[in-house]
Amino acid sequence: MQGETTSSHELRHECEAFLYHTAELLDNRQLSDWHDLVTEDIDYRVPIRTTRERSSDTEFSDSSFHMKEDWGTLKVRTERMSSDFAWSEDPPSRTRRNVSNVRIVDDDGTEVELKNNLLIFRQQGDETEADLLSMERHDTLRRTDDGFKIAERLVLLDHTIIPTNTLSIIL
């Protein structure tokens, strides 16, 4: 597909397939397979959100984050989460990532910028009430010889106070 022009419908379809696949990897706890699909120069951020007045420019911090990762720190996290001693994820939480509202923002032939919504259902142990995490993701997907990889991800949470005990999952 590299260098080719696709219709916007096909492009969106192709991006959705990639997002669904990566969501499946995370839900199935194939963390190292997921990490293979991020670029070595990935910029991954989850800024802290605060309640602000309507007139304020933004609710998202530019200096404080829940996660601010590169390839190396994501490798540390995904390896650690797979350890037999990662108590927050053993027994693991049950997650279901629902990806929707995929919108293509730009395509320069090498990279596709897009937005998508993500709702994560998360439950652990005998809990019957689910933790729900809602967010919008601004992603940049890069075309490589092995297909798409995530080059940038900005996660804009719909939460100021995080409503789950631990963020020991990838968003």
Binding site: T50, S64, M67, E79, S88, Q124, L167
Partner: protein, 446 residues
């Protein structure tokens, strides 16, 4: 069925007896009656942390904060003074401030428009002459915490009518706080993490009083990943000291014996910016050798200062985190987590300090998630009928036997009692529960 009052009395009686043998009735970690009393007798009686001066640098800057569950506005007024205003209009009680942070000269109530300046004075009442001619505006400013003071930029408030001075409350803790906030001009980076956890506020508080025994087991996954402090990963050899009997507060120190100064992993170019003359020779020596230090000031303000990394491939940096365990119900809390960096360090260094702090202790912190993951469920056991009927107690007797590795340091230069092999004693955690018990049973104010 016993009444709430009887239940609290029974549990406190049990607590008094149990502490003598190094035990704590587990019920206190999830009991509605105890929780209600805590809000009143602890959070309504002692000095509670509000925020750091760098969070409100300009006049009019404000942040919403809580004391116990009570809503307050932490604001720097036009004269630069810190105010802790009760976020409730004097007229009908509505919140006058509805954003988490911002800058404003006035707080205007959205209900009827009563308006207060940022020192809390009532300056506007719509149609005052027609309806409130009789009202003396001077007597109707926003209610304020009666005691507000700061220690080296750390602002605290106390809502009891009578209170000791802040310095009296902090006592020996100031000796330690000087090492961070006098030696180093610190600033908060951005906004604090906030998240809700199904655990009693006392569980992490107890841990941060100095439970260094849990690290090899609880944090095995992070240590094996090669992240966190250089002393935990074994990158650097250290001696651990526990400081108890320090006016209700407690501390732990990992000291690195080396010719090379440590200063919590800060590199020489950052150490150069420190105010070395601000400390006594003894304090300075402890700071120079410090790998990780951590501790808690009663009731719910903990800190950890660590030199470490978020990726084994990267350089180690020093990062300071202050955390407040907010009570949000029996067996339930909100964590507020601030990350600090030395103000005079480069922007790049501050960013790295932030990243290492965030990756270690935060809702997604490689260390924090396993702590919380382990604590999850304590509240269910603590709130159980079984715990009540069978006198279930938690155990704090480590280091009390004849062969105890933890021994008192005779020539300790600071306040409190210092123990060598500080990971092998429960004295620090016992101090928390003793202070909790004394505060809960104190009828005469602090």
């Amino acid at each position: 069925m016993e009444s709430g009052f009887n239940r609290v009395q029974r549990i406190l009686d049990d607590m008094g007896d149990s502490l003598d043998v190094g035990e704590v009735p587990m019920e206190i970690l999830n009991n509605d009656a105890v929780y209600e009393e805590e809000l009143d007798r602890i959070f309504g009686q002692t000095w509670v942390y509000i925020g750091h001066e760098s969070e409100v640098p300009e006049p009019g800057d404000y942040r919403q904060r809580t004391i116990g569950e009570d809503p307050f506005i932490f604001v720097r007024d036009e004269d630069g003074e810190f105010r802790v205003l009760f976020n409730s209009c004097r007229h009908r009680g509505a919140n006058v401030c509805r954003a988490e942070k911002g800058n404003t000269s006035h707080f205007r109530c959205p209900y009827h428009g009563w308006t207060y300046d940022n020192s809390g004075d009532l300056v506007g009442v719509p149609q005052k002459s027609a309806g409130f001619d009789h009202l003396d505006a001077d007597d109707h400013g926003l209610h304020q915490a009666p005691h507000v003071d700061d220690y080296k930029g750390l602002v605290f408030a106390c809502i009891a009518p009578e209170a000791p001075s802040l310095e009296e409350h902090l006592g020996g803790a100031t000796w330690f706080l000087d090492m961070y906030f006098d030696l180093i001009d610190m600033e908060v980076i951005g906004d604090p993490h906030r998240w809700e956890v199904e655990n009693d506020w006392k569980t992490p508080t107890e841990n941060f009083y100095g439970d260094n025994y849990h690290i090899p087991m609880g944090h095995k996954s992070a240590i094996e990943a090669g992240v966190g402090s250089d002393t935990a990963t074994g990158e650097k050899e250290s001696e651990l000291y526990g400081i108890a009997d320090c006016d209700g507060h407690a501390f732990s120190f990992y000291q690195i014996e080396s010719d090379e100064p440590s200063y919590w992993g800060h590199p020489p170019e950052v150490v150069e910016t420190f105010n070395h003359d601000a400390l006594t020779e003894e304090q300075h020596e402890v700071a120079r050798k410090s790998g990780v230090t951590l501790g808690t000031m009663f009731p719910n303000l903990s800190f950890i200062f660590l030199g470490g990394r978020d990726d084994p491939e990267k350089e180690s940096v020093g990062t300071f985190l202050l955390r407040k365990w907010e009570p949000r119900g029996a067996g339930k809390m909100e964590v507020v987590n601030w990350i600090f960096a030395p103000k005079h360090a480069s922007d790049e260094y501050k960013e790295r300090a932030y990243e290492v702090g965030m990756s270690s202790f935060s809702p997604a912190g490689n260390f924090e998630v396993d702590d919380v993951g382990i604590w999850y469920g304590i509240d269910d056991a603590a709130g159980s009928v079984f715990a009540r009927k069978n006198d279930v107690h938690t155990k704090f007797t480590m280091g009390s036997g004849d062969n105890a590795a933890a021994t008192v340091v005779d020539d300790w230069v600071g306040p409190g009692t210092a123990y060598r092999e500080g990971g092998m004693t429960d004295e620090n955690q016992l101090d928390f529960y003793r202070t909790w018990y004394e505060t809960m049973t104190d009828n005469g104010g602090t």
